[in-house]
Symmetry: C2
Subunit: 396 residues, 2 copies
């Protein structure tokens, strides 16, 4: 990719990883290590997070938002790196379905990411250099464990709700499994109890694209002043196709040529869809760390609730008092409805209270991030009902 744009300012990225802007940071010293599934401890570490709204006196109106693979804590504010709106402003804010006038919203950057929570781009205190591949491989359960420590820090005993889509939905399920007594209501959207072989395959292609870039330098690019931006852009382009649907691509681009009527008979971006994908790749590398991409895709690949519970997903939710609302989208082929039905069946088998909605849309997996009125109505309705059951006054 010859035209992948200017090199991001790597020093700025490293700064963002250690001292992120426009957010809060909870620091956990050597007395409070994060125990990881890999069998090691991460210590010290930090969690960058955003909050919106006000915690009520009973500390009972907190909603935890879990972000997806390439998301971050900037749910409902201008992003400090890209200058773009928050990734879920349609869902979270005053008067929105997750109403910040009623609920206290907390969104942490996950461990392993690159926007201020400890990850491979953060400085390893033992060396004074970025962790790179010396950072331990983390899991969805590790992310949730760290989030629980953040809630301890915030003195929030029980979450009114936890919500998220895609990798965020995996965290929601893991929350319900790991800390059932701390979750009153759970909203896993467009996710699954385990990553499928096809999804692992797509992730592996993305990782190989990054690692094939000689600028990746075996993960030491930050130290060596290199930047695997071409490899990361290719990874993003491939992944982006899986976030959309065939129908949506057809509706948006079809076979339309870019700025012309006829083919050029070259390898330029002749078709609009090529141009669009190249833009997705280029803009992604300006805000995301290549090693974080490796770690977070790996965490998703490892996610398998059944494997963690003697092969039976229902065991993960045994005796759960949490009320669930599971949502899928008809055109999502990355996390198809069948995966959400499997969640529902497991919840039914464990006797949990669960509602389920499959939303008809051609927007594919990304529908959870887009303007989907039916999704908004479902989330609002579910939270209203849960707030009543929880005895929240005006939701507070």
């Amino acid at each position: 990719m010859a035209d992948v744009g200017t090199a991001p300012d790597l020093a700025a990225r490293a700064r963002e990883a250690d001292t992120p802007r426009d957010c809060l940071v909870a620091r956990f010293g050597s007395d409070r290590p994060l125990r990881l599934d890999a069998g090691v401890e991460l210590s010290p570490f930090q969690i960058a997070y955003k909050t919106y709204g006000t915690l009520n006196a009973e500390r009972s109106n907190a909603v935890l938002i879990c972000h997806a693979l390439t998301g971050d804590q900037h749910v409902a504010n201008v992003h400090p790196v890209t200058g773009k709106p928050g990734w879920w402003e349609t869902m979270v804010g005053p008067g929105r379905p997750i109403d910040t006038e009623r609920y206290f919203v907390v969104c942490p950057n996950v461990v392993g990411a690159c926007m201020g929570s400890t990850g491979p781009a953060s400085t390893d205190p033992a060396t004074g250099e970025p962790w790179g591949l010396d950072f331990p491989v983390i899991t969805i359960r590790d992310m949730v464990r760290a989030q629980a420590m953040l809630l301890d820090e915030l003195k929030i005993d029980t979450l009114f709700a936890v919500a998220g889509g895609s990798m965020g939905g995996m965290q929601v399920l893991q929350w319900a499994a790991s800390f059932p007594e701390r979750v009153f209501a759970a909203l896993p959207i467009a996710c699954a109890t385990r990553h499928s072989a096809q999804n692992i395959a797509f992730h592996e292609v993305g990782r190989q694209a990054v690692m094939a870039d000689p600028e990746w330098r075996k993960g030491r690019y930050l130290v060596e002043g290199a930047n695997p931006r071409k490899g990361l852009a290719v990874a993003r382009m491939g992944a982006h196709i899986t976030y959309l649907s065939d129908a949506a691509l057809h509706r948006k681009f079809g076979r339309k040529f870019q700025d012309r009527d006829n083919p050029t008979f070259t390898f330029d971006a002749d078709f609009q869809v090529e141009s669009y994908l190249r833009h997705q790749g280029i803009s992604f590398v300006e805000r995301f760390d290549a090693n974080s991409y490796l770690y977070l895709t790996r965490a998703m690949d490892y996610f398998d609730l059944a494997a963690d519970h003697n092969g039976v997903v229902a065991n993960a939710f045994a005796g759960a008092q949490t009320r669930f609302c599971v949502v899928s989208f008809t055109s999502d082929w990355l996390f198809p409805t069948s995966e959400s039905r499997a969640i529902v069946h497991a919840l039914n088998a464990s006797g949990a209270r669960v509602s389920f909605a499959e939303i008809v849309t051609d927007k594919g997996h990304d529908a959870f991030l887009l303007d989907e009125p039916e999704l908004f109505a479902i989330v609002r309705g579910f939270l209203d009902g849960a707030a009543k059951a929880r005895g929240l006054k005006n939701g507070r």
Copy 2:
């Protein structure tokens, strides 16, 4: 990709492109140029091809096989580069559905490929160096035009049948559109009348993966002694996922670990599906030219029968006497059944004789290359009927 294998012998590849082994070569001198859709002429050029069986006295029992993107002329014999069986030995051979005891089978390597027909790895006679990106961008129609010239050379006026899957199926449709009077029966399998936006998108990711590799050297790797094998391997890995189905990947690999019971918490190929994909990538670069991959994917992207016929596919087949058998596979999401139905509707609209079969299988797009008894039965039955109508004695 650190372990992409040893570098293929580039000198051997260049030799294979100019003087291919184990096949015939038709050479077209400056008096017989190939007119290309790009508006230029390719001259001189050559077509490498294989034949199986015997042409009858009436020269009426010829079956043209059109190969797919990464296929070649070695349909039913040991491949001279890989040492593996031919790619369609289950379909073509003595007693097989395309029975070489009845039919004279011809399979040319397409123009733009790298197994002996003129393509970007061939020597440009004007410079004495490999064409590289100076090779003109070609189309499916160009491939078919070159094949027609080969048939002229072989003095075969009318094909008894033309058959192929995927890009091969596109050529079959183009044959029926460009030379209806030369095609008695046509078997387009797992294909479409135009490449979809999603398919263009996947191809573009593959091209970008190749071009992102610094070893690609703007296409001059053969001249400069470089080899973009990492980029090409990534492209192949991504494409390979689209040839299979989610269900097939789940059945074959699921979430099984490679040679162990538990995750390693590293970026090694932990899952069997990762290991399998890496193998696909590595073995592909040993037999395929990276620039050819760019050219052939581009040709597929440009394919759009409707655009060539005033926006109406049916116009492409107006007055066709050819009898068609269209085949799709239920789990093929690259060329889904809806695309084959569109072919059938266009053929119906143009009054052509057409039968259609959708075969139930979980094997995805690759089903056309695999052991699919129903496919074999359909092809055999269709050809038997056509042979009777054609008046072939014992098929000869």
